[in-house]
Symmetry: C2
Subunit: 565 residues, 2 copies
Amino acid sequence: MKLSKLVGERFKEKPSDCVVESHALMVRGGYMKYVASGIYSSYMPLKRITRKIENILREEMDKIDGQEVQFPVVMPATIWQESGRYEAIGKEMVRFNDRNNSPHVLGMTHEEAAVHLVREYGQTYNNYPFMIYQIQTKFRDEARPKAGLMRVREFTMKDAYSFHTSQQDLEEYYDKCHKAYERIFERVGVPGVISVASDSGMMGGNISHEFMLLSDIGEDSIAICSECDYRANMEAAENINDYVRTSPSEELTLVHTPNKHTIEEVCSFLNSSERNSCKAVVYQRNSDDKYIVLFLRGDLEANETKLTNYLGFDIHPATITEDCGLNAGFIGPVKLEGDFIVLYDNSLKNMNNVVCGANVIDYHYTGLDVSRDLNSVEFHDFAKIQEGGICPKCGKHAIKISRGIEVGNIFQLGTKYTKSMQMTYVDSDGNSQYPIMGCYGIGVGRLAASICEAHHDDYGPIWPKAIAPYQVHLCAVRSDNQEVKELADKLYEELQNKGVEVIYDDRDVSAGIMFSDADLLGVPVRVIVSPRNIKQGVVEIVARDKSFSESAPIDTALNDIMKRL
Amino acid sequence: MKLSKLVGERFKEKPSDCVVESHALMVRGGYMKYVASGIYSSYMPLKRITRKIENILREEMDKIDGQEVQFPVVMPATIWQESGRYEAIGKEMVRFNDRNNSPHVLGMTHEEAAVHLVREYGQTYNNYPFMIYQIQTKFRDEARPKAGLMRVREFTMKDAYSFHTSQQDLEEYYDKCHKAYERIFERVGVPGVISVASDSGMMGGNISHEFMLLSDIGEDSIAICSECDYRANMEAAENINDYVRTSPSEELTLVHTPNKHTIEEVCSFLNSSERNSCKAVVYQRNSDDKYIVLFLRGDLEANETKLTNYLGFDIHPATITEDCGLNAGFIGPVKLEGDFIVLYDNSLKNMNNVVCGANVIDYHYTGLDVSRDLNSVEFHDFAKIQEGGICPKCGKHAIKISRGIEVGNIFQLGTKYTKSMQMTYVDSDGNSQYPIMGCYGIGVGRLAASICEAHHDDYGPIWPKAIAPYQVHLCAVRSDNQEVKELADKLYEELQNKGVEVIYDDRDVSAGIMFSDADLLGVPVRVIVSPRNIKQGVVEIVARDKSFSESAPIDTALNDIMKRL
C-alpha cells in the first residue's frame, strides 16, 4: 500500500475530547472516525489490526474445538422473553418494533441465540460437549460511552458458548478456554493480562473470571493479594472482618452533635476513630423508590454490586426528602422507625463502643454494642475491600488495589438459560436433564485499544508484530530524487513478492512529516531510503520500539530486512 | 472436523415452508436455522462457505485498489437527514430512538456513512480517486422476506464506494469494477452470471447494472436480445413503439358496451384487436391518494418503476370509489374530467381507429385518432417490454424475457450524496467541486444460496471447490471395523497435515445415512474407506458432481486424493 493513497488523515494536535492515549493516538493516526456517541467507523489500518486479532481469536477457538457460527444482530423479542431477560435488562438493550409491529432487539450478547440454535441438536446425549462461537457486531446502549474504543455502544465481539452434561466437564472446558485466552493475550502482545475472579452480573451463573490489562486508565478496580495468588474484581472481592473487642462495653449514650452530619465531622467532634463508628448509606429501589438503609463501619465504602446481587433488584443512591422519615446525617440502627429495608454489613458484627446516628437531628449515640443493642440482626458482605485489607484466600493484610481494563471474560453459566428456554437432553439413565453452559467473550475493538494503551510512546502506537497493520514501513525520503525512488520502488516490490505487508511512503514530503506519520502508524520495522543513505551505500532499518537500528548495505538490504521480521 | 461433532442436524424431509431448492437443501443440510422472518443463524458449514466467498470478495476488491474499512450498523439519523434519505426511505429502514431519545437507524446501505468517513480526506484534489469497501451486516425491513437466503431482512454485504473527480474517471473505474465482478462470479463458481442495465431506484444516479444469475426462481425479469448484446432488467428496459397507421381514421363513435369492463371483454364484444385499443391503469399517490390515470395500448402492461421514476413520488394501485369521478371499466382519454394526473404511454402515439372508454358507464368509443382527438398530449415510456418486443439497441423484434436472481449491482451515483452532504474539493483551477461517486454491492448470503441454486441435484448442494465448506469428505463405512478406522484415521491425519480441509464421517451409522449426509454437505471430493474396499486394497475417490469415480490403491491413495483437489 502506498501511503499517498491511504484513505484517512493523520495530524499532530491531540483532540480535545480524548481523555486516554489510545483514543487520541487512534484518532490522530487515521484509524477511526467518530460517527455518534460510542459509534465509530474504522479506516483501513484499524480494520487490518482487528482482522488480525480476529484471525488469532478464530485460531485459538478452533484449537479448543470451537465451531464458528453466526447469530443475528437483530433478534425477535420472543427468544429474550423465554429467558426472561427481555424484561430484566434495562435501557442498554435496544428494542424496536418492525414494520409489522413485532418487537425486536439488537443483540448485546447471544446466550439466547446460542440456545435457540442448538436446542434440537442438543437433545442427543452423545452430541455433548460442544462449543460454538461467532465474531459479530453487537450493540449496547451504554449510558456513558467513553475513551474511544474502550467503552463504545457498537462493537465487534468474539463470543463463545459451550454446552456440557456435567459440572465437571464444564469446569474442564472452562480451564481449557482460560488457557486459550492466555495464549490469545500473549499472541496479540499483551502477555501481562491477568485473570481475576469476577461478579457474574446479568449473565447469571456463579463462577466467572475477567481478564484484566493492568492500567491506570482502567475502569475496573482489582484486588490483588501480594502474599498469595488471590486476584478479584473489587465488585466481587469479599471484604473480611477481623474485629476483636478491646475494651468492655460502655453505656449507650445520647450526645449532642450540633451540625455534625458526616461521619468525619462526628468522629472528629467526639474525638473517636472512624473505624469505631457506624455509618448509614441510603439507596432507593428503582421500581418504587422504597428506601434501603445500609449500615457499615464508618471507614468503609458500600459495594453496590454486592448490594444489588443480595437484593435481586436495581437500586440508585437515595434522594432523602423531608418527610421520608430519615434524618440525613443522623441515621442510626437504634430506634430507626419507618418502612425501610435495613441491611447490616459484616464489618459491624460484634462491635462495641461504636458511635452512630440517633435518628434525631443533631444527636448521635456513643457506646453502641451491636450484639447488645441491636435485635438479632443479620450481617452480610456489602462493603468494598480496601487497600491493605485482608486477603480472603490467605488471610493476610496484603490486598493491593489496582486499576484494570477488562479485555475478556469467561462465565460458568450453569443451567440459567437451558432451564428458562427449555433445552433438554435425555441422559444415559433415561432422565431428562438441562445442559450446563459456559460463555466466553472478547471485545475486538477494546482489545485493539488496550494493546495501544500498553504499547505506545508520545508519538504513536507501537503495534506488536502479530497485529500490526503492516510489517514494514518503507520511507522514501526525497522521493523526487531518482535514485531514492528507484531503490525504494525496488524494495517495495521485492518485499511484497516475499509476502511482506509493506506501507510505502512515496510522498514528496519532508522527512519530519514522514517520520511522524510513521510513528502514528506504529509499524514494527521502518526502512529508510534517502539520498544520504544511498551516498553511504546503505538503507536504515529501525525498530519502531527502538530495540534496534542498523545501516544495511544496499546489496543485502532485502535479506537484512527479512531477518528483522 | 469430525462429522460426529459437527453441530447441526441433517434430515431427509423437505420442510414445508421452503419454496426454492437452495432454501430446502440448506435447511436440510444443517447450514442455517430460522430465527424470525428473514433472519437466520448460520451453522459452521455455511459460515465456512460465506467466509470463503468473503475472502474472494476481499481479494478482488483489493486488486482494484479497494481499501477495507468498516462503517457502523447503527447510525445516527443526522447523516441520513443530510442526504434526505431519512425522510425518503420508507418502512424498510429501521428507525429507533436511543436511551437519550436521539433517533438512529439500522444501516441498509452505507453511502451516507462512506461520505461521512472521507469528507475531510476528500478535500484534497490529489487524493482522488479512491475506493473504500466493507463487509458488514445490514438490515432491511423487507415486507416479504422469502426463499431462505434469497430475500432476507438481515444480511451480510460487501459494499464498496468510489470517489472521482471526473465522470470519465468514474466510468473507467466502473468498468474495472465490472471486470472484478466478472472474476468474482467466475471464481465462486457461477461464471454464467450476466450483467444487465438496471434502474437505479433509491440509490440515485443514472447508469447502473445488475449482475443476474439466470434462474427460473429469480424474482427479476430480464429482457435479453437474441440478436445483439442488449440486456436489461425489465424495470429499466425501454419499450419501443413501431406503430404504423394501416387505414384511414374513422369517426369517433360512442358505442353501447353494456357490462363490458375489461379490455378483453370490450375488444371481444366489438370484435377488435387489443393491440388497437387504449386501456387505463389507475394509481394513487401514496402521500395524499391523488389519482393518476395512465393510458396505454390495451395489450401492454404498466411498468410501475418507470412511472414512479417519472413522477418522482411513490404510488399504489388505486381504489376507485363511487364519487372519485372515474368510471371503472369505462375510463378513456376523451372528455375525462376531474383533478387527476393523466399520463400517456409511447405506445399510443399516432394511433388511429382505437377503441377506448368513454367515461360513461356501459359506453366506449371506437375510431379514436390519438393525434386528432387528444389535445397536444405528451407521450412517455411507461409500459413493460414484452417477449418478442423490439430491442432498444438493434431495433429487431428479438427480445426474450428470462428470470434472474440479482447477485450484485453497480451504480454510477454521480454527485447525489456529495452534493447533499456537502463534500467538496478544490480542483486544480481553484474551484470548489463535488466529487463523483460510484457504489458496488454484493450480498454474501444470497450469493451462497444462488450458487446452491445453480449447483445442486435432488440430494444436496454440489459446492464449487473454491467455496466448499471442506475439500474432502472422508467416509469410514463401518467405523467399528478396526482396519477401516485405522486407515480412515490415518488418511484424516495425513490430509490435514497437507493442509486439506477434511470433514471426517467417523460415526457408526449405515452407509446409506453416511452418503446422504455427504450429499447434503456437498463437498467436492468424497473418499470412502470400507471393509469391502480394504479387502480389494483400495479406497474409493468419488466426485460429488459425478465427474469422476476411481478406486485408488491404498498405498497411493493420499497422492491420488491430492491429485483430485
